[in-house]
């Protein structure tokens, strides 16, 4: 099966020296790849490049075979993203946001907009301005915008940030269901290993901008009881090799 996303020695280094270096992995349809790493490990940087928000300093990121820099339009046509805080205009309503986003995707109509609002639990608030939304509601709105075009690849950076327990479970269920039923591929970042463990099929461990490992969840859990232990073991391996 052709990969939905293919990163080949992708590097994005900022002026302060932070970022991600030489990241290589691919994501196939239906896979949920969890990016695991502490703050500043390069999770968001990788996602920004895939979502078209940042330019790589080296290497390439291909979405459906299209380079995200050189072929932006075909590459981003099948990508939905929620990176850091959702990009919302305070003076516009939830419906306005969806209507604006829908203009970029010819197949998206009012029924689909209602459907995603229903899915994230914002149907009652569609005529309300986003400036009045709580943090959790803004996060739900960001999810609705990411889901709107029914993309084949969803890039979600801390998707449950600011959500209550019930909504966190709902989001997790949405991710698992879409991956199973529609073969949607996911790139999900979290600094919580337990959250990644509950939804991912693959796990990518990042530390200080370096990729330490990429494995299936089963492989990771074969030798370690939890993904948290797996992550700590990978970090210890790296530090040990540096000391040697």
């Amino acid at each position: 099966m052709a990969p939905v996303l293919q990163l080949d020695h992708l590097s994005k280094v900022y002026k302060n020296g932070r970022g991600a270096r030489s990241i290589t992995f691919s994501v196939e349809p239906g896979q949920v790849v969890g990016l695991l790493g502490p703050n500043g490990s390069g999770k968001t940087t990788i996602m920004k490049v895939v979502a078209g928000l940042a330019r790589p300093t080296d290497g390439s990121a291909l979405v459906f075979g299209h380079d995200v820099v050189a072929e932006r339009e075909p590459a981003l046509a099948g990508v939905g993203a929620l990176i850091e805080q959702p990009a919302l205009y305070e003076n516009l309503t939830a419906w306005d946001h969806l209507a604006m986003a829908a203009r970029y995707y010819p197949g998206v109509d009012g029924a689909r907009m209602d459907r995603v609002l229903e899915l994230v639990g914002l149907a009652r608030y569609k005529k309300e301005k986003c400036g009045r939304f709580s943090l959790g509601m803004k996060q739900r709105m960001g999810l609705a915008l990411a889901l709107l075009s029914d993309p084949a690849l969803l890039v979600l950076d801390e998707p449950t940030n600011g959500l209550d327990i019930e909504a966190t479970v709902e989001v997790r269920e949405i991710i698992i269901r879409l991956a199973r039923e529609k073969e949607t591929a996911f790139l999900v970042a979290s600094h919580l290993a337990s959250e990644i463990e509950k939804m991912c099929t693959h796990v990518l461990v990042l530390h200080e901008g370096e990729m330490l490992s990429f494995a299936t969840k089963e492989e990771a859990l074969r030798l370690h009881p939890t993904l948290e232990d797996y992550f700590l073991a990978r970090v210890r391996d790296k530090k040990g090799s540096v000391l040697l």
Binding site: R72, L76, A87, R103
Partner: protein, 250 residues
Amino acid sequence: MQPFVANLKNELFKLSRRKKYIVFLILGALVCVGSALRVLAADLILDEALPRELLVGGLTGENLLFLLLLFLPLMALMGCCDLFAGEQADHTLRFSLMRPVGKGKLFFSKAAAVFLLCLFDLVVLLAVSAAAQLIMGGGSQGIARSVASGLLDLVPLAVLILFFCLVNQLVKGSGLAVLACLAAYVALVVVGTYVPAAGGLLFTGYLRWHNLWVGVTLPFKAMLTRIGILAGYGLVFGSCGYLLFDRKEA
């Protein structure tokens, strides 16, 4: 073309939802009508009883100067700063950067949206001026010519919009962008006014370029040079602005 049109519609929608543009348009209309009322009031106080046609006969043409040198550049400046530096500062630029639309289309659709905003304001304020002139007994003299002049002056205004778009790529923060655009515009107008030699070379010197088109015979050769200068400025501002925008990250 579809992504360009989609983004253009979105930019226009965003501008239409900002109340300040409506407020400024109303203020502009009040200034246009007020300038006629001022003349009529002065006439009344001085008890001159001059014919109305003499007093407000050239109202539309007189208002054109205010529109071209002050009102429309201000609208262009605010529109550019809202759609570029403003969105960069509050991270809403991501909304369109994450969509399947090329950065070139994004950049130029934003500039086109500001241009259409200026066109709309110009048409409304010329209509208000013309209506005021007719209602106050100034007759219809000069209205058609003023409208044609105003539309002709949209060409240098488009270059000014591209200039503001470029300035917005050079500074960070919406406040600083407004300040930088305003300072640059005032400086260019002042230099163009007080240094005649530079006036012909600066694009701001052409903001009332309908004056160049007025005459018994059109000075075609001289016009060609000026059109070339203006087109050159437009190309430089447009391409430099796009190149900087293309490197922008959100």
